[in-house]
């Protein structure tokens, strides 16, 4: 018996560019940037003091059935609830919920929650003994227990968005959260797809949610020199594939999708938005800080996804097009990533690589870290739907070494039937998904 086909029946996102599918998509196609000075904390003296934050008009309570159930939701859970509610509604499962909640699972790539920074630091400093260079545990416990909030602390566990979504949509099936840095939600969608293919669920809610726009998040990335420290207009700071790129810009938010077996979707009369055909995952096993310089690990993941989808990377399709008509790049805008990703794509597609448009929406939306893959996957679904490719913003000064078609600065109309979505994480995880137009 052949394995079941897996389709996408709902999509939703909450990002720095807005919190509905159409509003964000419109801004992406307008090459609009969500970067502004950081407001989540006082970052004025930090090397990087801008980000693409979810705007204050986002209120998760307007998306959920009963906000009081989620009264303690942290930011990641709030974003996830907003995005998943859109997707769930679009899929029609809100009107006619699945019969058996045990056949509805979750696989998220959610990040760790936001530290209660002020109370945390105050507790640390209160208990600090400068003379010995050590924390006094008794003083720490007294202050920490008195000042920190019980549920705010539990909410920081990375599996809490999962708990909120399970509760909101009554999911009792397999439930996972993976956290493989910037590859997490691509991996989550790939594993959700694998669970459905194996027949272990009928419906999976999948995607990612994350914010690291907080003092220690920005500190961590600034110390790694991974963030853009560009002065001037923040909307020009994220410059993937540009010769003067200097690092990524943080975004935040969530992308969520409803995946289900075609059989289940058809039986309830749902409309597939796209089909997931292939998933590939590999590990660099190279270095803690660097990517394999020849792009081998990334290429292995892409090739595995293509193989599963039955796509020969060197064969043009019946219309003479490359087998993939759009690549949603990881495209962070760091020196290393963009150069190695370019090498990896060439490794996979050879001479045809130049004919495949590949853009980075991180140039506009910023880098959603664990959630990056989910919003980029959704971008592929929309590119297929509308025949439009979102551009790579701020690509005015080409890097002579990077010679692919990055869809610079302007949206392009193109008939797209097959897309590849790539994400690579710190720590060496490489993940790729093949998403295609659904044909019944």
């Amino acid at each position: 018996m052949s394995e079941p086909r897996i389709v996408v029946t709902g999509i939703g996102w909450v990002t720095g560019l807005g919190h509905s599918i159409e509003s964000v998509w419109k801004r992406l196609l307008a090459a609009d940037s969500g970067m502004e000075p950081t407001t989540r904390f006082d970052a004025r003296t930090f090397p990087t003091s801008f980000a693409a934050e979810v705007k204050k008009d986002f209120d998760f309570r307007s998306f959920v059935k009963d906000p009081s159930v989620h009264a303690t939701a942290g930011l990641n859970s709030q974003f996830a609830l907003g995005a998943a509610s859109q997707a769930w509604k679009q899929s029609g499962l809100d009107v006619k919920p699945p019969k058996d909640p045990r056949r509805v699972g979750l696989y998220l790539g959610a990040g760790e929650g936001v530290l209660d920074f002020d109370n945390y630091v105050a507790t640390m400093l209160h208990a600090w003994d400068g003379a010995t260079g050590k924390i006094d545990g008794v003083k720490w416990a007294a202050r920490g227990l008195a000042s920190m909030d019980r549920l705010k602390e539990i909410e920081q566990e990375p599996n809490m968005p999962l708990a909120h979504l399970a509760r909101e949509f009554n999911c009792r099936g397999p439930a996972y959260n993976c956290l493989t840095a910037c590859a997490a939600s691509t991996q989550a969608i790939g594993e959700a797809f694998s669970i459905l293919r194996r027949g272990d669920a009928d419906v999976m809610i999948s995607g990612g949610t994350h914010t690291m726009i907080h003092p220690l998040g920005v500190t961590g990335f600034n110390r790694l020199t991974a963030l853009s420290e560009r002065k001037g207009d923040p909307t020009e700071a994220s410059r993937p594939f540009s010769v003067d790129r200097g690092g990524f810009v943080m975004g935040e938010g969530s992308g969520m999708v409803i995946l289900e077996t075609l059989e289940h979707a058809m039986a309830r009369g749902a409309t597939p938005l796209a089909e997931v055909m292939g998933y590939g995952s590999s590990c660099d096993a190279y270095r803690i800080t660097d990517i394999q310089p020849d792009g081998r690990g990334a290429a292995v993941a892409m090739l595995a996804a293509l193989r599963q989808a039955g796509i020969d990377p060197h064969a043009r399709d019946a219309q003479g097009r490359p087998p993939i008509q759009y690549i949603s790049a990881h495209g962070t805008g760091t020196k290393e990533n963009d150069s190695i990703e370019t090498k990896a794509v060439k490794r996979v597609f050879g001479d045809m690589a130049r004919d495949i448009p590949m853009s980075s929406i991180k140039s506009m939306m910023g880098h959603l870290i664990a959630a990056a893959g989910s919003v980029e996957f959704i971008t592929c679904v929309l590119a297929i739907r509308d025949g439009m490719l979102p551009p790579t913003r701020n690509l005015k000064n080409r890097d002579p070494e990077l010679d692919l078609d990055y869809v610079p600065n302007q949206t392009r109309a193109a008939k797209v039937d097959v897309c590849l979505s790539n994400n690579f994480g710190f720590g060496g995880q490489n993940d790729a998904l093949v998403v295609t137009r659904f044909r019944g």
């Binding site: 006082d42 003296t45 989620h70 045990r102 545990g137 416990a141 909410e155 110390r223």
Partner: protein, 445 residues
């Protein structure tokens, strides 16, 4: 047989827990009913509900002594959680008789090609090492002693080593392990609290089952022996109320009527999972067969899962799914390794699940309660539990049990180690957050 369902066996186990690194130390502690609970050597934690932890003493484990010389420098960027995973992986690889890149083989030959080796390691929310971070934070203080974020942003943060954050990303456990042993196949980091290790084992099983790898290093590790984790355990209602004068060996009382809560622990483990055909081809001894896996989500009354609900339905769903997957009937199960950390509400939910799945047999179905030596080591727990189950199947022994009783209608009362004819053992873990994972292990044929 379709590629999706290749048989998977366990060819090596590398658990790490307070008795030490490797199954021998842990197994002998379990046979003798020794406790793993004691005072905390890192901080004075008497300000919390429970002054005790289940900690692995420095003289029983030093990651620098475990890794090859060439990798010793990298131990500087390892948080405790990473150290535990790296140590466990070396032990598992050794036990499985695998030659990996870590052995620096003269002829370059490794047992399993790098692209056929996967790695799935569950991880927790890793706490920043308090003294290191605070030493840096303390450089940015206002005159009144309060934190000066402007000074921190401008200069203070430079007191942190550039790689600081890489100690605390959950996927750095797998990152180090994959580098050490050159695992270039599918790799993942599952972060579902206490369910993480078994969810990882299950994912490895599926990855091997569908042919994406021939072997996986799989498991989890976590240390909750730090201030933030202990605080969160207390907030989650998971810590025992005790004083320093109490007997630490009596704190954790799995399934007992007088259970008072658990203790924070540290530990975990890595298992070597292999396609049965691959293990057979290289002449490896299968220690046990990984026959089934199941996962589920509980309905949590309080959303975040601190209140697990008493019916244990979600836990039972995972166990039933694993039994179905293995093609095993509940009455064929010979023993169960529960989570059973001595937290009354959660123990009650687990007992309800066991009674629900096994019916009248529940009162006689032996439970292997290991939390008296592990405490709650979070994402690592399932890997210790699975290793113990494998060892029980191999040796035909059930370890001793202490501190529990039969009040919940399950077999948890104190008993000495004894022989038993074990063919099938179930292991499950419920997480704070409501995820449940279960596996079925079968004696190697």
């Amino acid at each position: 047989m379709p590629r999706q369902n290749r048989r998977v066996v366990i060819t090596g186990i590398g658990p790490i827990a307070p008795p030490g690194l490797g199954i021998d130390a842990i197994w002998s502690a379990l046979l003798e009913g020794r406790s793993g609970v004691g005072p905390c050597s890192i901080f004075d934690i008497s300000g919390f509900r429970c002054p005790f932890v289940a900690q692995l003493p420095a003289d029983r484990f030093d990651v620098k002594q475990v890794v090859p010389k060439s990798y010793r420098k990298a131990t500087k960027v390892m948080s405790r959680d990473i150290e535990l995973a790296v140590g466990a992986a070396y032990e598992a690889v050794r036990a499985a008789g695998l030659i990996t890149k870590a052995h620096e083989p003269a002829d370059g030959k490794v047992t399993i090609p790098a692209d056929r080796m996967g790695c799935h390691i569950g991880a927790g929310l890793i706490a920043a090492e308090e003294n290191e971070l605070t030493a840096a934070l303390a450089t940015s203080r206002k005159a009144d002693g309060g934190f000066d974020i402007a000074a921190w942003g401008a200069t203070g943060m430079q007191n942190l080593t550039p790689l600081w954050m890489l100690k605390y990303l959950p996927n750095m456990l797998a990152c180090h392990v994959t580098i050490c042993h050159d695992c270039q196949g599918p790799s993942n980091t599952i972060t579902c609290g206490e369910a993480s290790a078994l969810l990882s084992v299950g994912e490895s099983m599926r990855v091997i089952g569908r042919g994406a790898a021939d072997a996986c290093l799989s498991g989890g590790a976590e240390s909750k022996v730090n201030l933030m984790a202990i605080l969160r355990q207390q907030f989650a209602g998971r810590l025992a109320q005790a004083t320093a004068s109490d007997d630490p060996a009596r704190i954790v009382r799995p399934f007992a009527k007088d259970a008072i809560g658990g203790v924070a622990g540290e530990g975990g483990g890595i298992l070597v999972l292999e396609a049965a055909e691959s293990a057979e081809a290289r002449g490896a001894t299968a220690l046990a067969e990984l026959a089934g896996f199941g996962a589920s989500q509980s309905f949590c009354a309080d959303t975040v899962g601190a209140d697990p609900g008493r019916d244990g339905e979600g836990i039972a769903d995972a166990v039933r799914a694993a039994l179905d997957d293995a093609g095993v009937k509940p009455d064929q199960v010979d023993a169960v390794v529960p989570f059973g950390c001595g937290t009354p509400a959660l123990d009650a939910a687990e007992a309800a699940a066991i009674r629900g799945v096994f019916g009248a047999r529940a009162a006689q179905l032996p439970l292997l309660t290991i939390s008296t030596i592990t405490g709650n080591c979070g994402a690592g727990f399932g890997a210790v539990a699975a290793s113990v189950a494998v060892q029980a199947l191999r040796t035909g022994m059930l370890p001793a049990r202490v501190n529990g009783d039969a009040s919940q209608g399950v077999d948890a009362a104190p008993v000495a180690a004894r022989k038993a004819d074990l063919k099938t053992v179930v292991v499950y873990t419920p997480s704070l957050g409501g995820q449940n994972a279960a596996i079925v292990l079968r004696r190697a044929s």
